[in-house]
Symmetry: C2
Subunit: 194 residues, 2 copies
């Protein structure tokens, strides 16, 4: 039931917004009493926090598997990270909506549980870039911190426009994006004038 | 007064959210009657649409100046676009918040006025990349449509984390990002295995 409440809340918060959805909307949709809701959750904000936690913890777990893979280069790990984010947004578009849009409705206590995990996810990407620099895969003049946000921006922005049923698959999109991130878009031999 | 109502609404919607702000909050903040509000706007959604329109029309106007500059390469135009987006987000962080978060509160009629302009902005970036490909500045195997979203993602994502008073300025950030977009992050001579 706990999972059912979370999943129904994701669908309703995603479709109508957090503020626009009442606990009654959730229990009605499930055909249960409010008592059932309050058996599992303190209030609506409590459900919201668990949606946020589940989304970011899912990302962190998948990211850990990528980081732990000793056989891959940093470039490959970056690729797998971008692919994983795009796939998670595609497969959980309502969760992603709640995750990106409804952060402001978390109270201070809830935010203090979610935010460190969001930061951990970003810092892990920064870590991949930094190791790539240290090990000579990536250029020495890079700012790993700033670039981790750029990589996240490229991947996360797909949430605003990517159509899973469109002509480009998530794997093709990952390749297009990674090629830009790794090689850049200029013709071979070009240099930025400085 | 019209401008004052819009500016106060931007501040309040940005700080507290669109749903959480009432017309009374806006008129109280301004020290005017509700009648004054209704003289200029039909309802709260009407103000929201004008905030959206003003933000995107401002971006389009600045973009036009960039596009019309015949003396610049496509790479430079892309640079100027990224810089301009970052600067607008920095200088109008409350407007950007409303723009990125509160789109869902526009009704169908209002959306039909705002969305084509958002698309126009994206297609203009796509146009710069396409001309760069056609004129040999950028690689021939690029997908200008997908990459326009990647460039927008990099620039727009700065909204979620960029601290104007931080150690990196908006111009430095633009340079870091453009270098990734143009040259990629790999060490010279590297190639993606395919």
């Amino acid at each position: 039931m706990r999972e059912k409440i979370i999943n129904t809340s994701i669908a309703l918060f995603g479709a109508h917004g957090f503020r626009e959805t009442s606990i009654e909307d959730i229990t009605k949709e499930l055909g249960v009493t409010k008592g059932t809701f309050y058996y599992y959750f303190t209030n609506k904000e409590d459900v919201l926090m668990h949606i946020h936690l589940r989304f970011i913890e899912g990302l962190l777990e998948q990211q850990k598997a990528i980081l732990d893979n000793q056989s891959k280069t940093n470039q490959e790990k970056l690729h797998d990270n971008v692919q994983m984010v795009i796939r998670n947004i595609r497969n959980g578009v309502q969760s992603a909506k709640v995750f990106f849009r409804e952060m402001k409705h978390l109270n201070e206590h809830h935010t203090s549980k979610v935010l460190p995990k969001r930061h951990e996810f970003q810092r892990n990407i920064q870590g991949i870039i930094q190791r790539g620099i240290d090990e000579g895969e990536f250029r020495r003049d890079l700012r790993a911190d700033m670039l981790s946000f750029a990589v996240l921006g490229v991947a996360n922005w797909s949430y605003f426009w990517f159509e899973p049923d469109g002509e480009v698959s998530e794997d093709q999109l990952t390749d297009i994006y990674m090629r830009m991130i790794i090689e850049g878009i200029q013709t071979k031999g070009g240099e930025i004038d400085e």
